[in-house]
């Protein structure tokens, strides 16, 4: 018995000593929020340990709502969200927040129409009509009209949507709100909405499964999910009138198209769905990090800004491998200014001539 105590005591002492050395050298940053960018954030955290071995970043993908709440409660150093904070939420933190775009995501319509192998075309009006329950058959003239040469069956359309609150739903409903006044008025946009029709599936896999298993189903999933799982998806007509295939390139184009019209003081809480431009995929969005404009701890602030700077520059090269669309250069430029304006107690954290470490 005595020996066991001895071993235990030694182990505890060892742990304490270990913890001591850790705290002496390391800075720890914690963040929480959106699940959609979690794969690339994890990748960045991993790769960044090579750049900064003494920095430990702990990112928890608890959902955008949770991210905003934790950020507001100051329980994390940074938050992350797929849908921007509302004006009233920003008032709660006394305006002390920057939305910093990190990568882009797109959402695609996926379907299961028996006997149809061609890639179907959709317009915003048609998608809104289907999701409002106004278009109920695949051979409705509004669908056949934009899909010449495809013979569509007299089959009920079964709408599949997310049952869990999600940034994907935010992008989808934001797009439908823009292209359909009827949708904007009856349903609106949000991470969870009051669906007029349809079946709910949990997560991208849940929606994809309903679509796969139900003849006549139409749902929406993240582009990344569709690409990684070889799920076919439809073309969507953009503002310029072209039917566009969602790719990383057409998604980045959407951001470039939308940002071109922004002034330099933008707070980045912009929707880039239904953006201007010829080769632009219309259902895409930024995902944001939430960082305070004025922080309290200089060491942490510097480490955090170094990391964000690295992520929007060097980090962007990991996007393609994980099927995220990288930020257009104009956005990165604007973000550099934003990062340089962040302060601790009124003193800027980054030097004016900062070019990354």
């Amino acid at each position: 018995m005595r020996r066991i105590y001895g071993v235990a005591a030694a182990a505890v002492a060892g742990l304490v000593a270990f913890a001591g050395t850790v705290t002496a050298q390391e800075t720890r940053l914690t963040g929480a929020g959106a699940t959609f960018p979690n794969p690339i954030y994890s990748k960045w955290v991993l790769e960044y340990t090579v750049v900064r071995p003494n920095l430990r970043i702990n990112y928890q993908a608890i959902g955008s709502g949770g991210g905003i709440r934790q950020f507001t409660d100051h329980t994390v150093d940074f938050g992350a969200t797929d849908g921007p904070m509302t004006d009233s939420q920003i008032t709660v933190v006394h305006g002390n927040v920057y939305h910093l775009p990190t990568v882009l995501g797109a959402v695609v319509p996926t379907y299961n129409v028996p006997g149809v192998t061609a890639q179907l075309r959709f317009t915003g009006e048609v998608l809104a009509g289907i999701f409002l329950g106004q278009i109920t058959k695949w051979n409705d003239s509004r669908i056949t009209g934009i899909n010449p040469g495809v013979s569509l069956p007299d089959q009920d359309i079964v709408v599949a949507h997310r049952s869990d609150g999600s940034g994907t739903t935010y992008i989808w409903s934001d797009y439908l709100s823009k292209v359909s006044p009827d949708w904007a008025q009856r349903v609106g946009k949000g991470t969870a909405v009051n669906w007029p029709v349809g079946l709910g599936g949990q997560g991208n896999p849940g929606v994809a499964n309903i679509v796969k298993q139900t003849p006549g189903a139409l749902g929406y999933v993240e582009l990344i999910y569709a690409v990684q799982n070889n799920i076919g998806y439809g073309l969507v007509r953009n503002k310029a009138g072209n039917y566009i295939q969602a790719t990383l390139e057409t998604t980045t184009n959407a951001a470039a198209g939308a940002v071109a019209s922004l002034d330099a003081t933008t707070d980045f809480r912009v929707s880039i769905t239904d953006a201007d431009g010829g080769d632009v995929y219309p259902i895409s969005s930024f995902t944001w990090l939430l960082v305070p404009k004025d922080m309290t701890d200089m060491t942490k602030a510097r480490q955090l800004l170094d990391f964000v700077w690295w992520a929007v520059h060097d980090g962007q090269k990991y996007c393609a491998g994980l099927s995220y669309a990288p930020l257009p250069s104009r956005v990165v430029q604007l973000e550099e200014e934003r990062l340089k304006s962040i302060t601790v107690g009124g003193r800027p954290v980054l030097p004016a001539n900062y070019r990354g470490r």
């Binding site: 709502g65 849908g83 009920d156 869990d164 609150g165 609106g188 969870a192 009051n194 079946l199 949990q202």
Partner: protein
């Protein structure tokens, strides 16, 4: 009492009080977080069906209805099956078969619920939609509880999954109850010239009524709170529909689905409120079970007509 006994007693008292305290804390936390929604919506929270996070409008009737409905469907399927299993295993099965079958049934309880959910998506729903429904439709097509177009994810699918999940609990407890029925009772029944079937129906089952009731309530309690498997097959739709073929939603599933991304405070508070409702439902069900068991047990003690 020696000093050791005093300490022992104190430790046990603290441990015994800890659990009720935990229950109390859960209740208090639920109620306090639910207050904003309770104040805003009042009783209409229980009677309206609109669940609109965008406009901050919340009515939980479909959730409450779906929770009770899917659980009742599960009971309707599971109770006869489970009782049949229990009776077979205690009264009719050859001795060598009893233990293996009982063990296998109890093994069903060890399957994680997400596995049941996957089984539901890939096996049960296609089976119901492509093989069960086309056969049954000509017969039951105009019965109200089988109306509408059947896409697969539905209250029916949830009910069947839940039935499979609660069956082992009901069967195992019922079996224990029936095993505890004294052999005298059976012999007395048989001595009066009753067949084995009559003995089971008129003597053994009534004798075990209280225990069987307890087993059913145990199953019901589990069905009410089941989350993962249900959300995977029920279709997650905030709508009250009497048809078993239509999608529905349950309280537990809605909380699991919406909690992490609930952005507005009212949405969050509404989820707490509906959680408190579920808490209340389970308390009522358990209280009801106590009363039933108590009444039945007391009835037989004074010599009810059943025996």
């Amino acid at each position: 009492m020696s000093r050791g006994d005093v300490i022992f007693r104190a430790v046990l008292t603290v441990l015994a009080l800890l659990l009720p305290l935990l229950l109390l804390m859960i209740g208090v936390e639920l109620v306090s977080e639910a207050m904003p929604a309770a104040r805003q919506f009042g009783l209409s929270f229980l009677t309206t069906s609109v669940w609109d996070p965008v406009r901050g409008q919340f009515g939980a009737l479909p959730l409450i209805f779906g929770t009770l409905y899917s659980s009742l469907v599960a009971l309707a399927i599971a109770v006869p099956l489970a009782l049949g299993c229990a009776v077979f295993l205690t009264e009719f099965a050859p001795r060598w078969l009893r233990t293996p079958v009982a063990t296998l049934i109890e093994l069903l309880a060890a399957v994680p619920s997400v596995i049941y959910g996957l089984w539901g998506i890939f096996i049960l729903i296609p089976l119901l939609r492509d093989h069960f429904w086309p056969v049954v439709r000509p017969v039951l097509g105009h019965v109200p509880i089988f109306s509408g177009v059947f896409y697969g994810p539905s209250v029916l699918a949830a009910g069947v999954i839940l039935a499979v999940m609660i069956l082992p609990y009901i069967a195992a407890v019922s079996r224990e109850v029936l095993l505890a029925v004294p052999a005298d009772q059976r012999e007395a029944g048989l001595a009066l010239g009753a067949t084995r079937w009559e003995t089971v129906w008129h003597v053994v089952l009534p004798y075990g009524r209280a225990g069987i009731m307890g087993a059913v309530i145990l199953g019901l309690g589990r069905a009410l709170g089941e989350t993962m498997a249900v959300t995977m097959v029920i279709g997650n739709r905030h709508e009250v529909s009497a048809s078993l073929l239509q999608p529905g939603y349950t309280i537990a599933a809605a909380i699991a689905n919406e909690f992490s991304e609930a952005v507005s405070n009212m949405h969050l508070s509404s989820l707490f409120l509906v959680g408190a409702v579920l808490f209340l439902i389970t308390i009522i069900v358990n209280a009801l079970a106590r009363v039933l068991v108590w009444r039945v047990a007391r009835g037989s003690a004074v010599g009810s007509t059943a025996i």
